[in-house]
């Protein structure tokens, strides 16, 4: 078996006395679309933040393509090919939509901290950015300040920024949160399109999205994964039914 794209082992995180993540072992293969679901407060976003080094884990390791990420800064992890989006929209609001994408392209195109290239002159860079804008259907909004976009458009832009760098592991944190049905469909299609051939890890509440997208699903409850497997297996899992789906249904009504 080849090295998994992302491998978590014994991952734990405590804030003071509160143990939020209580030992997670998870292995996600290459080009797999993996969804993490679970009730509110289960620790999904915390798990994301642990993987991307936004928080330091209390114990355990995160391996990307077999390489231990311990002690690395977020930007170093990103350079290794892991990119993420955020639950709360996290874009550059004062810059134009085009600029948002272009910034996301700079590092992977090898520009690094250069101050001898004028970005406007790099035609290939602009073409790439426009191609991504086309992919996320924001070409028409190209020169607007990103902060003035609608919510769904901003979420789309966020996904665009996340994938632009060409990372092969993409992590999306609730990409459809707070969206209407039509917007959700639009985003789901978009995710489908842009993560073709890449490893996708997403946290999501909308079961429609989850079951439509994911190859495999993990269920996180109180900082522990109680089930991992194919969508239909998880759906049928009694533990999951009891711990999560029931609660979720109750919540909805």
């Amino acid at each position: 078996m080849s090295t998994p794209a992302l491998e978590l082992s014994g991952l734990k995180k405590s804030f003071g006395k509160a143990e939020i993540i209580r030992g997670i072992d998870l292995s996600i293969g290459k080009a797999e679309r993996h969804a993490i679901i679970g009730p509110n407060g289960a620790g999904k976003s915390t798990l994301f933040n642990l993987i991307t080094a936004r928080f330091a884990p209390t114990a355990g390791t995160v391996k990307l393509h077999g390489e231990n990420l311990a002690g690395l800064e977020p930007f170093q992890i990103n350079r290794k090919g892991l990119s993420r989006s955020f639950q709360i929209t996290n874009i550059f609001p004062k810059m134009s939509v085009f600029e948002n994408i272009r910034c996301a392209l700079l590092w992977s195109n090898g520009y690094k901290y250069s101050f001898w290239n004028i970005v406007n002159r790099q035609r290939q860079l602009s073409e790439q950015a426009d191609a991504i804008l086309d992919q996320i259907n924001l070409l028409g909004r190209r020169d607007l300040p990103a902060g003035t976009l609608s919510y769904a458009e901003q979420r789309a832009l966020e996904i665009g920024i996340t994938i632009a760098g060409g990372a092969d592991v993409i992590m999306l944190d609730e990409p459809t949160a707070g969206m209407s049905h039509s917007e959700t469909d639009y985003i789901t299609d978009l995710i489908m399109k842009v993560t073709e051939g890449k490893t996708l890890i997403m946290v999501e509440h909308d079961m429609g999205v989850v079951f439509g997208l994911a190859d495999r699903i993990s269920v996180l409850v109180y900082g522990e994964i109680i089930a991992t497997g194919k969508p239909e297996d998880v759906r049928g899992d009694a533990k999951v039914q009891e711990a999560y789906l029931g609660a979720a249904l109750e919540e909805e009504h």
Binding site: E73, F75, N78, Y113, F115, V119, D143
Partner: protein
């Protein structure tokens, strides 16, 4: 103000707001021609000196805006980079053999390098985070260097500073820089070069990422860029251009003192930059020009200049946070829509009375000041080319009436202006 922008997003006007400025060479060519012609119009030395002062402030303010406007770093001690660059230039001026073999126009380059050197050291620990921590470290370091300037006499020359003579440099194509006009052209050339370089910097990958880090450092980190390194590069570049302005100061004034380093100068440059507008590349240029005029020319007219400058500044922050440049750029949508003509008459109706009213108010302030602090028996004062007795009631009534009527009319016509403004910024209708 933003809510009034209802233009079509695809219009270039919007592109300008979002991306800064679209590149055209035209403004640069106009600037170069203007700078070449200005000394032909204003030939006296004082006008040249004041224009040189503007130029130096322009470079410094643009360098400062690399931090504040483009990088989101608020510095309370940036004068030290300009000052230290200038002090080194002055020491070079005093190294007779070396200086005699060096053409004067390259001296500011040394200022830049030493300014950059200091920024390399300080930036190593100050750019770790932006916000308050950066601001306070800059304040602390600024105070320390300013304080050491009076203690370390060997380098800073104490309170008297150190001085030199620019004319000892190697003549540059026969020019010895004896006259202000020659110095003017040297300074002007450096302004154009520095401004062009700083503009180009804002277009480079690291310059773009400076904006990204300013807006959202965390997101930038997840794009592969270390926010700290991006800030560091901006800081060092800003230190370089600040140093260049220090070098030009050394050439112009041939003396550097503690004032080139102190907190007051650091505060002033913040004021200048913000007044001009941090959101646009050319904002600091306007700020530098306006502030130099206020400080140097208005202070010839009234002792209360600092009071007016302070009021202007506070009013700018309160009502036009985009600064003077923002005020100008607000009109771009209307111009692009071809509807700016709609604004002329309402502007005339509102702004003219408002200006007259404010002048009336200033007259009242000047009269109070004269009444309280003028010499006994010396009741005559001259204001706006009119001489009158400040101890009689009539001028007070007139000034009060002008202020009240002017501002009153402006208040009455303000709603019309607002309507016209909305109309001019709305698409459609006849233009």
């Amino acid at each position: 103000m933003n809510e009034q922008l209802k233009t079509d997003p695809t219009k270039p006007a919007q592109r300008m707001r979002a991306g800064g400025m679209t590149i055209t060479l035209l403004p640069w060519i106009i600037a170069i021609i203007a700078m070449l012609l200005l000394p032909k119009i204003f030939t006296n030395n004082s006008a040249l000196t004041i224009m040189n002062q503007m130029s130096i402030t322009i470079i410094f303010a643009l360098a400062y805006n690399m931090l504040l406007g483009q990088g989101g770093m608020l510095s309370f001690g940036h004068a030290v980079y300009a000052g230290v660059g200038g002090f080194f230039c002055m020491h070079i001026m005093n190294m007779s053999d070396f200086f005699a073999a060096m053409p004067l126009p390259i001296l500011p380059l040394f200022g830049g390098l030493f300014g950059m050197g200091l920024a390399l050291i300080v930036g190593a620990f100050s750019t770790r985070s932006a916000g308050t921590v950066f601001a306070m470290i800059s304040l602390g370091v600024g105070e320390l260097i300013a304080a050491s300037s009076v203690i370390v006499v060997a380098f800073f020359g104490g309170e008297e500073g150190i001085s030199g003579d620019r004319t000892y440099a190697q003549p540059f194509f026969g020019v010895e820089f004896l006259q202000q006009e020659e110095v003017y052209y040297l300074t002007a050339a450096w302004v154009i070069i520095s401004a062009a370089l700083m503009y180009a910097w804002s277009r480079t990958p690291v310059g773009r990422m400076a904006n990204a880090v300013r807006d959202n450092p965390e997101r930038a980190e997840f794009l592969g860029y270390s926010a700290r390194w991006v800030r560091y590069y901006s800081f060092v570049a800003s230190g370089f251009f600040a140093g260049v302005s220090g070098g030009l100061f050394a050439i112009n004034y041939e003396i550097l003192t503690e004032e080139n380093l102190n907190a007051y100068s650091s505060g002033i440059i913040l004021l200048v930059t913000f007044l001009g507008g941090v959101g646009f590349f050319f904002g600091p240029i306007i700020g530098a020009i306006v502030f130099t005029l206020v400080q140097t020319v208005l202070s010839l007219q009234t002792e209360l200049w600092a009071f007016y400058a302070g009021s202007l500044f506070v009013a700018t922050v309160m009502f036009f946070p985009g600064g003077l440049a923002g005020l100008i750029m607000m009109h771009v949508p209307a111009i692009k829509l071809g509807k700016w003509r709609l604004l002329i008459v309402p502007y005339f109706k509102t702004l003219l009375p408002a200006a007259i009213g404010i002048l009336g108010l200033c007259a009242l302030i000047e009269m109070i000041f004269h009444y309280r602090h003028g010499a006994t028996g010396d009741n005559e004062m001259t204001l706006f080319w009119t001489t009158f007795d400040s101890h009689t009631i009539m001028p007070w009534i007139i000034a009060g009436a002008i202020a009240a009527i002017g501002i009153g009319i402006a208040k009455m016509t303000a709603p019309d202006l607002k309507d016209a403004w909305n109309e001019a910024n709305t698409m459609g209708g006849q233009s």
